[in-house]
Amino acid sequence: MSVTPDLLREKLIAEIGAIHVDVEDTSPNRCAASFKVLVVSPQFEGKPLLQRHRMVNNCLAEELKEIHAFEQKTLTPEQWEKQKAQ
């Protein structure tokens, strides 16, 4: 099974209640499967960065085994609104 942006998106929505997910396939820039994701979820509220990233890592544990490079940005809905307004 190959990892696709849609698969990542579905899992993040289903498992950590993401209300918004951007998945960028950065593989063309590198030699192997690489992705950059923006995840917005109310479940990140009150959690420090490391804990948020671990939530994402756990959610995508199987997929990450096949991914070579992975970038992530994790925001709460409030942070995301602020960012959009900038």
Partner: protein, 154 residues
């Protein structure tokens, strides 16, 4: 003007390479990065992350990073004037490369540790740098960020 003095010393007994670069400029940065030519490093990971205040597992070396994310970590540390840290090149040792992922339960390289505690990878360090949290965390380690001095000069 910057003057860079490099000295490379090989300690024959422990087969460890030490690389030191001393830069002198108005901000008085000095940098040392310790490189381990590895064997059986995996067993010592717990010891390794505690041995130095700032520890980085990366691809390549601070002088020659072999990956954009690892390079980003090196540059951020340099911007803050963190001159003394241990840098371990996972490309030199597959056991280390896999071992550190298992050790921190973290799937990617680079990995940054402060005082033996896992901080995160490039994304987290970059966000901490942008938010100002990194200056604070370095302060807790007893390291004064060079950016504080730069602000004062302006």
């Amino acid at each position: 003007m910057n003057s860079i003095v490099r000295s490379t010393v090989r300690c024959l007994r422990s087969r460890t390479w030490y690389y030191g670069a001393v830069q002198s400029n108005a901000v008085l940065n000095s940098g040392w990065a310790r490189l381990m030519c590895s064997s059986a490093v995996q067993k010592n990971l717990e010891e390794m992350v505690k041995r130095d205040k700032v520890v980085v597992f990366m691809k390549g070396t601070p002088a020659q990073p072999m990956c954009g994310f690892s390079n980003a970590v090196v540059q951020i540390l340099r911007m803050h004037g963190v001159g003394i840290y241990a840098a371990y090149n996972v490309l030199e040792d597959q056991d280390l490369r896999q071992g550190i992922k298992t050790f921190s339960n973290w799937p990617t390289i680079p990995q940054v540790f402060f005082n033996g505690e896992f901080v995160g990878g490039c994304d987290i360090l970059l966000q901490m740098h942008q938010s100002g949290d990194l200056v604070e965390e370095l302060q807790k380690l007893g390291i004064r960020s060079a950016l504080l001095d730069r602000e004062k000069e302006a």
